[in-house]
């Protein structure tokens, strides 16, 4: 509780009388108001005065007004003149009676003290206001106001020069320039504001760089007049006559830590008439340097932010994996170019769209979205049938949750995995086929041998009908043998011995083997004479060619024209072999599956559907490639590329 400052002003006798009432209050005792005034002249502290009415009569008002502040009055009981009461009624007064208890008096003192304090505050405020009232038309104030406004709105380097130009009238100059340097004192930008025209950036050429740099280096204090040497350098870009020039240097040299990356700014004010700048004008410029420096720092900061944001943007866009930033509602806040490419949309049209709609063509978030389920990657089937892997990273900006969504197009990986699985399946199938073939071959050998033996031994003794039946058995067994041979050919390495092989020889041997298939077919050979020899299994190539020739013969129904060509392809060091016929060709759908095992266009029982699959297997094993093209109605072409390998 605030302790009230109380003064008791009475005669000595009266003090004795009132003592019992006032004993719990801390009092300054005086016998006249004048004493209080003298005592508190410098530092008024009294808030409540207990004053004897007797003393009031003795020139009270005069003394009371001398008190700079107005304490509350409590008047001790005795009759006073009516006129005195009127003269003191504008201050808080209370007439004490002898019937009041000490507690009541104590309360009264508190109220009086509060009132006094309130009055004191009001008067202090008034006094303050009267002291600080100023003239709005003060020219310095106007200058600072204009300059500050210009500095506040400055966003770029030329804006700083605009701010300088607000002082044109006050300081009295016609032209102004601003020059920026980096921490190595290299000129980075120069803007000039001629009196007659607009601000223009100065396209400085190499010849003025050194002279200006020299000029800028030799600046000892913040504001300096120019020397003759400096004038010469400045004339290279001012291009108008001037008589005196002031230079103001804006730097934050006291911030040594940041100096490395800071740039400096120099402001030049040019005066054309032959009058020097006065002390007052220098002072005004000094005054202006504060706001200008702040504006310069702000512009530098904005530039840095702009640069950082550009850097961020280009980094973001430079990342080859698609990335988006989404908010809690799955709206895309930002997306990089890779993402735009992924969904084949304009990067500008992506913003604020739902990620699940753009990516997966969904109306609701993907099930188990990594943005919802932490630490979990999700496989998404994308719009364009891409397989995407998505994962998420949470960030908090200004109390908002955002998520970096990373995507990877794993379509190729998926395809590769599928191919791998397929090849593993084929390997397993191969083993199975091998085992089955072995198990079947044994009894089949018995059936075939027995039926052949029966036909041979007993052709004379058994009836013709039974003989015919046995012949059927024998034929069926032979067909089974052929199927199993094919199956084994598909899975088992027929020949592993590699040797330096002349492909031309291989082709000719294959043709010899296929003589029966080629009986009514016109054969064209177009083989380069000096094909390089290659390290390869000749039987593999022979089997490939034999299969292709037999297939072509079947396709042409054993009638037509078959061409086999072979030549060396230098750029990838391969031998290209082409087998093409003018048969009916292959439908696109069939062509797509032509190398798949068990896929056949022949009638049931006529083929196993393994021939071309074996071909593909063999070519792949020797590191080559095979493709098929066809024009239905005109013919088909099989193109093989085998690598040329030599003993080294």
């Amino acid at each position: 509780m605030h302790t009230s400052r109380i003064s008791l002003i009475t005669s000595k006798e009266t003090q004795k009388d009132f003592w019992p009432f006032l004993q719990n209050l801390s009092l300054n005792r005086y016998h006249a108001l004048k004493e209080l005034y003298e005592n508190e002249k410098e530092n008024p502290i009294t808030e409540v005065i207990f004053i004897e009415s007797k003393i009031l009569k003795r020139g009270f008002e005069k003394e009371y007004k001398k008190l700079s502040t107005a304490p509350s009055l409590i008047i001790l009981p005795e009759k006073i003149k009516k006129s005195s009461i009127i003269s003191i009624q504008n201050i808080w007064t209370y007439f004490l009676t002898k019937e009041m208890s000490p507690k009541e008096i104590s309360q009264l003192v508190q109220i009086a003290a509060t009132a006094a304090r309130k009055r004191r505050r009001i008067s202090a405020l008034r006094e303050h206001q009267s002291k600080t009232s100023f003239n709005q038309k003060n020219p310095i104030l106007q200058l600072i106001t204009k300059l500050t406004n210009a500095c506040t709105s400055a966003e770029d380097y030329p804006d700083l020069l605009k701010a300088v130009l607000t002082m044109k009238e006050s300081i009295g100059f016609q032209d102004a320039s601003i020059i920026f340097t980096n921490n190595k004192n290299d000129l980075t930008a120069l803007y000039h504001a001629p009196h007659e025209g607009k601000i223009y950036p100065f396209d400085f050429q190499s010849k003025i760089r050194p002279s200006l740099s020299l000029l800028l280096k030799n600046s000892p204090s913040k504001i300096v007049s120019t020397s003759d040497e400096e004038a010469k350098a400045l004339n290279e870009f001012t291009k108008h006559p001037w008589s005196s020039c002031l230079k103001l240097q804006l730097s934050h040299s006291n911030r040594t830590k940041r100096k490395e990356t800071e740039s400096l700014a120099y402001i030049f004010l040019f005066r054309r008439e032959l009058v020097s700048f006065t002390e007052k004008e220098l002072w005004l410029l000094e005054l202006a340097s504060g706001p200008l420096l702040l504006a310069f720092e702000k512009v530098s900061m904005l530039k840095k932010i702009d640069l950082a944001s550009k850097e961020w943007r280009s980094t973001f866009d430079g990342i080859s994996e698609p990335i988006t930033v989404i908010d809690r509602e799955f709206n895309i806040v930002k997306a990089n170019k890779a993402f735009a490419n992924l969904i084949e949309a304009d990067v500008k049209k992506i913003k604020n769209k739902k990620c699940f709609s753009l990516l997966a063509n969904r109306r609701s978030p993907c099930v188990e979205c990594p943005a919802v389920k932490e630490n979990q990657a999700l496989r998404i089937k994308g719009k364009n049938k891409n397989d995407l892997l998505a994962w998420s990273y949470s960030i908090k900006l200004d109390n908002n949750d955002f998520r970096f969504q990373f995507y990877r197009n794993v379509s190729k990986e998926t395809a590769l995995t599928a191919a791998l699985v397929q090849s593993e399946k084929m390997a397993a199938l191969g083993k199975l086929v091998g085992a089955i073939a072995h198990e079947i071959n044994n009894p089949l050998a018995g059936i075939l041998a027995t039926s052949q033996l029966l036909l041979n031994d007993s052709s004379n003794t058994i009836p013709q009908e039974i003989s015919n039946d046995i012949m059927e058995i024998s034929a069926a067994a032979l067909r089974s043998k052929k199927i199993i041979d094919d199956l084994l050919g598909f899975t088992v390495n027929q020949e592993n011995i590699k040797e330096l092989v002349d492909i031309q020889d291989c082709i000719l041997t294959s043709i010899t083997f296929s003589r029966s298939a080629l009986k009514n077919i016109k054969l064209n050979l177009n083989i380069d004479n000096n094909l390089p020899k290659t390290l390869i299994s000749s039987s593999s190539i022979q089997q490939v060619l034999f299969n292709l020739i037999t297939n072509a013969s079947h396709a042409m129904r054993e009638k037509g024209e078959l061409t086999i060509s072979a030549h060396y392809v230098e750029h990838d060091n391969t031998i290209a072999i082409r087998v093409f016929d003018n048969g009916p060709g292959i439908q696109a759908e069939t062509l797509r599956h032509i190398f798949d095992p068990f896929y056949t266009s022949k009638l049931e029982g006529k083929g196993t559907g393994l021939g071309l699959s074996i071909v593909k297997n063999l070519i792949t094993k020797i590191g080559g490639t095979i493709t098929a093209t066809s024009t239905p109605g005109k013919g088909s072409s099989f193109n093989i590329h085998i690598p040329v390998l030599n003993l080294n």
Binding site: A437, H438, N441, A445, A449, T450, N456, L488, N493
Partner: protein, 124 residues
């Protein structure tokens, strides 16, 4: 008189082979198990007897054709061996030829009637 031993756990084949090879100038003995055939060969070996030619399957339970081939290679190298296999691996074929087999026949045979010709060719 040439002595021929036929070993195949596939009875049908063994029988058919015996029938086509049973001629005036040669006798055939038949086994349907590799282990029995080997024991038989070892018994004969004690009295210094041996077969002129053995036709046998490669894959048989317990004692395989390859095992018997090895035994013959070291004990009665004068015995000619025709291996038969229903398994088409060329590496195995090469291996068998290196171990002393005269020929490796792929089962099923294209024509059973070719077998006597092959046998006479080898025995000649």
């Amino acid at each position: 008189m040439k002595k021929i031993l036929i070993v195949d756990d596939e009875k049908m084949i063994a029988n058919v082979l015996a029938r086509v090879l049973n001629k005036e100038e040669q006798t055939t003995t038949l086994f349907n198990s590799g282990i029995e055939a080997l024991q038989h060969l070892q018994e004969l070996h004690k009295t210094s007897q041996f077969y002129d030619l053995i036709l046998m399957d490669l894959l048989m339970p317990e004692v395989s054709g390859a095992d018997i081939l090895n035994w013959i290679h070291t004990n009665t190298p004068r015995t000619k061996v025709i291996m038969m296999t229903a398994y088409g691996d060329s590496n195995i074929r090469t291996e068998l030829l290196q171990r002393g087999a005269s020929i490796v026949l792929q089962k099923p045979f294209e024509n059973i009637l070719d077998i006597p010709k092959i046998v006479s060719e080898i025995l000649r």
